[in-house]
Amino acid sequence: MEHGKKGRGKTSRRGFLGQALTVAGTAIAAPSLLNQSSNAKDNLETAEGNMKVTLNVNGKQQSLTIEPRVTLLDALRDRLGLVGSKKGCDHGQCGACTVLVDGERVYSCLALAVMQEDKEIVTIEGLAKGDTLHPLQTAFIENDGFQCGYCTPGQICASVALLDEIKRGCASVVTPDLTRPPQLAELSEAEIKERLSGNLCRCSAYNGIVAAVQQAAGQKAPSPLADLMLSEPEETLT
């Protein structure tokens, strides 16, 4: 909750919209709406069936009183003010809500917050160290891996996990030899695309995203040889 208040105090997009409404004089309804929603929140906390849950988010322990049906995504956004994770489809199809749980990428819209106790959750807000961006955040900027940007937090979290998965030797369905998964330096475009297929970008910033992952993987430029890693099976049906 502390985090949320802090976020709102700064010039966040929401804070700005709130001020703009007040200035425009259309805000007579707005403060009362805000009051109503905070009242509703208070009622929720005392409502029957609520549970007390402690989540470790971006290295901070945060206590919440929530209904068991609250998803991790809703807890992060609505209760902890961490609005970097986005609600796109809310059904595990678009990837905009991707966060890291115990180092693995998951869809926070398909996870219940009450089930996440004792786990380490990292959101897009937790990737930078102070003012120093995560290498993948830098790579996304340098390779223009976003257009509207709504999917970007999920894409970056997924890409961070992807590089760890390569280091751990995870195979993908396009890996030709399961016993020899690709190394970072030989990560082909086909592998990157397959491994990021759980994140959709409807602006189609895909090329920039692939280039950003290649840069973060330590590849110089998109290697023309990289694609050859995916061997086409011989056409044997004659």
Partner: protein, 331 residues
Amino acid sequence: MKNFTYTRATSVKEAVQKATADNQAIFIAGGTNLIDRLKVFLDEPSQLIDISRLEMKRIERLSNGGLRIGALVSNTAVADNADVRRDYPILVRAILSGASQQIRNVATVGGNLLQRTRCPYYYDTAFPCNKRQPGQGCPAATGINRMHAILGASDQCVAVNPSDMNVALAALDAVVEVAGPKGQRQIPFIEFHRLPGNTPQRDTNLEPGELITSVILPPVSFAKSGVYLKLRDRTSYAFALVSVAAAVELAGDRIKNVRLAMGGLAHKPWRPTEAEKFLIGKPADSSTFQQAAEIALQQAKPLSHNAYKVELAKRAIRRALTVSSKGGGVV
């Protein structure tokens, strides 16, 4: 979603007791399919029993050379396991072709067996559906049914089982171990899922209160040359229109042993045993594979929008058998 109470089970016994005491309770582990269903009110449990912290996360070697995979092992952990990769690449390929990394990291082996159909009429509560409410009718039978079943369907339900992992497990003759109020039992994989018949609301032969504890993979020496061919509307992160798991063992140029299972075609993973029988002892050539494909699809009854699946399935079978007979790998 409707609210529910949440309890965390500390043992298999306790989980089964809780589920037996409350017939509106549902187990949750990964929850990647269940939470999605809760959101659209397909399931409205009184209680969720969280089994995700129970000790069913190991993959162990059995004395006969097979493997026992705990029900709570994630799809990712199965696909990354060195023993599974070496002995059952057919299963690894099937798992890796399913869902996205985000889902595979969370989804469990036990849960994968209980995945429900993605039939759009089942998912949209504005439509009637016999699977949701028996006796309501099946709009898919006469509606837009290009994704639907061509084998084993009934006039009550034409939905298909969505799992890729299930198809590989059917080909491998896996065994499902369950714990229930009456103790433990084993269910041969091919008897685990049901055809719709007059009870399309029941996907499996699990009894009330029963919990999947593990899946056993028997030793199948030639599973190493197994392949999984999945055909879908886009090349990644989509359910199969047609999929084929195939493993061929040769003696010289003749087929000594074969396993064949198909996905996307029926209410359960489909094992065309007649086609398998036909293949034994035949030369491993394209004419043999074509004849096996014809036999496998002999009983097909396409609906108004999915006749394409018949030919697609035949070609998929032919290709999967061809690649497997040459040693396997990426199809």
